[in-house]
Amino acid sequence: MDVLTAFEILVKSMLFASAPLIFTALGGVFSERSGVVNIGLEGLMVIGAFAAVVFNITFASALGGATPWVALLIAMIIGGLFSLLHAVASVSFRADQVVSGVAINFLALGLGVYLIKDWYGAGQTPKIPVPFYYERIPLLYDIPIIGPILFNNYLTSYLAIFVAIIAWFVLFKTPFGLRLRSVGEHPMAADTMGINVFKMRYIAVVLSGVFGGLGGGVYAQTITQDFSAGTITGQGFIALAAVIFGKWHPLGAMGAALFFGLAQSLAIIGSSFPLLADVPNWILLSAPYILTILALAGFIGRADAPKANGQPYIKGSR
């Protein structure tokens, strides 16, 4: 394989493998920036994948080419609704947020597979009729060299990057973002400034559901193209790692997710280089994880979570 092709594949598979992680990690950023720990990202992805696949299968004949996009919308809505559980528990009921997140993970998988079995009589759905396909971006694709490398991918991959930038803007440039972050740092201060802490946290958690659902919907409609218990197996946890790796910053989380996708495709492409042929297989397979740890230990180092992350806000206490 020549260098250019290798590079093209590297970038291409980095982009499509990262996109679901980026979306989901953005959800995590919103939630945790508001002070609600969200280890339920995995479950939110599951429910998003479930919703998107079921919708796609059910409505493909009616909606045709628009199906996967509408399915994404549905995945976002269902993800948002589902995350309300986490919001109610951790914001209103002062639940331990980790516990509630664990419950989300259990519930999503249990419910998803239970319903699939109930509806399709099998632990696995059929293939979705209308998945996403790679697209060549007009004009940009024609740029020599970098065109084919960068601009032949799922539209959702570009959407992920675009949304990350939007998220950064919202979080750091708008009043909404300022308020959301203040709630995660010092909810009582925010309260005394007339900001409705509960409302902000609800919004943030629901946003995490929307994004997690989107991530799951994208994963299912670009990569697996069906839904079963094995569709989402740990991607949510990787996204959580990306949130922390990216220091709770939308662009950081995006970078972390891209890094992860890159490490993964490096590991895969690496094995086709003779140089690495003698490296034991398990090391190549573990490379993405090892690289992530090294990156953290080597040059990312400590990261400070939002100060009030994980603490329920109880009005009138200190």
Binding site: I9, F16, A17, A122, P131, Y133, G230, I269, S272, L285
Partner: protein
């Protein structure tokens, strides 16, 4: 069905007790299967086994459930023993264990329950009341290798395995030999994803393979193989003139390859677990349970075949496959079952 042994009725007296002569009507023979963690609808050998059992039930007027035929789903490796025992405790006469992962469990439970018959799919277990069912996947893989070797234009061919194991190596070895037989110039690149459920990894490997000029990929990787199909379909969708093929595994994966009006599934290596399950069940019911034996289902036994969907295979390829098939059946070709 299969032209092997006739003796061996060790401890299979209750195999056909009440049924007596009237094989046509309802017998009280009961048969169950225990899946591995893939589950009964894994679109792979568990499912195929279940289809075989259902067919057997229908043919013999059995009822689904504790009084006829059923399956036990394992969610975890630790569930095998429980499920095996539950089947025994529910007085099933014959219990299948589907997949090599169940080997140890079936060996233990069989020795503890000498009055029940067991059958293990995909691996060999010792014990007088256990029949071991294995498949000559290498033979089928050889045939699809022939197809791949002839279909390739780039002389570059890929193989994607799930987790490296003896079983998966059998697929790879036969495949490689098949390619070699028809196209000595072709190169087969073998990759393992390290996971049977990593569709993204499968897609990345496929992207890398197709990107480097490979035009046919044979996968034996379960859910990871989903990603291989995804990548192939994407390439096809974008460039219908481009040659990208996937070879499916275990059952006819034609449906998986459909993209618009095109289909990227070249062919599939079909492993007829259903045939084996029906065969063994029938023998057990008739008091001819092959306990303690290893029964290998190959091309000759109709346990291994090329998929029925053959629209993407040229007549030339089909002829060549038929030719090699005959040679294998005739024993003229000994297909290797291990790499190197």
């Amino acid at each position: 069905a299969c032209g092997s042994d006739e003796e061996a009725d060790t401890g299979s007296d209750e195999g056909s007790t009440g049924g007596g002569e009237g094989t046509e009507e309802t017998s009280d023979f009961k048969v169950a299967m225990v899946t591995d963690t893939g589950g009964v609808d894994d679109k792979s050998f568990n499912q195929s086994a279940w289809e075989g059992l259902q067919q057997f039930g229908a043919d013999n007027g059995l009822e689904e459930g504790t009084d006829g035929y059923t399956y036990f789903q394992s969610n975890n490796d630790a569930d095998y023993v429980t499920n095996m025992n539950t089947a025994v405790r529910n007085d099933f006469d014959l219990v299948f264990g589907i997949g090599f992962l169940l080997n140890q469990a079936i060996t233990d439970v069989a020795s503890q329950n000498p009055d029940t018959n067991f059958a293990l799919v995909d691996d060999v277990s010792e014990g007088d009341n256990v029949a071991s069912i294995t498949f000559k996947e290498h033979e089928g893989s050889f045939l699809v290798g022939v197809a791949a070797g002839m279909a390739t234009e780039s002389d570059q061919i890929g193989f994607v395995g799930g987790v490296e194991s003896d079983l998966i190596n059998k697929f790879a070895a036969g495949f490689q030999a098949g390619v070699e037989a028809v196209n000595p110039d072709a190169d087969v690149q073998i990759e393992f994803a390290g996971d049977f459920n990593d569709a993204a990894g499968g897609q990345q490997i496929a992207a890398s393979m197709y990107g480097s000029g490979i035009d046919v990929i044979y996968h034996a990787a379960g859910g990871t193989g989903n990603g291989v199909f995804t990548e192939a379909k994407n390439l096809k969708q974008q460039d219908p003139d481009r040659q990208v093929w996937v070879i499916g595994v275990d059952r006819d994966q034609w449906e998986e390859g459909q993209v618009g009006d095109d289909n990227v599934t070249l062919t599939s290596m079909v492993k007829r677990v259903d045939v084996a399950v029906q065969d063994i069940s029938t023998r057990a019911m008739e008091g001819d349970f092959p306990g303690g034996e290893v029964i290998e289902y190959g091309i000759q036994e109709e346990g291994i075949a090329i998929a029925e969907s053959q629209d993407n295979l040229s007549q030339e390829i089909l002829d060549e496959i038929a030719n090699y098939k005959q040679q294998i059946v005739d024993g003229e070709i000994e297909v290797p079952s291990t790499l190197e």
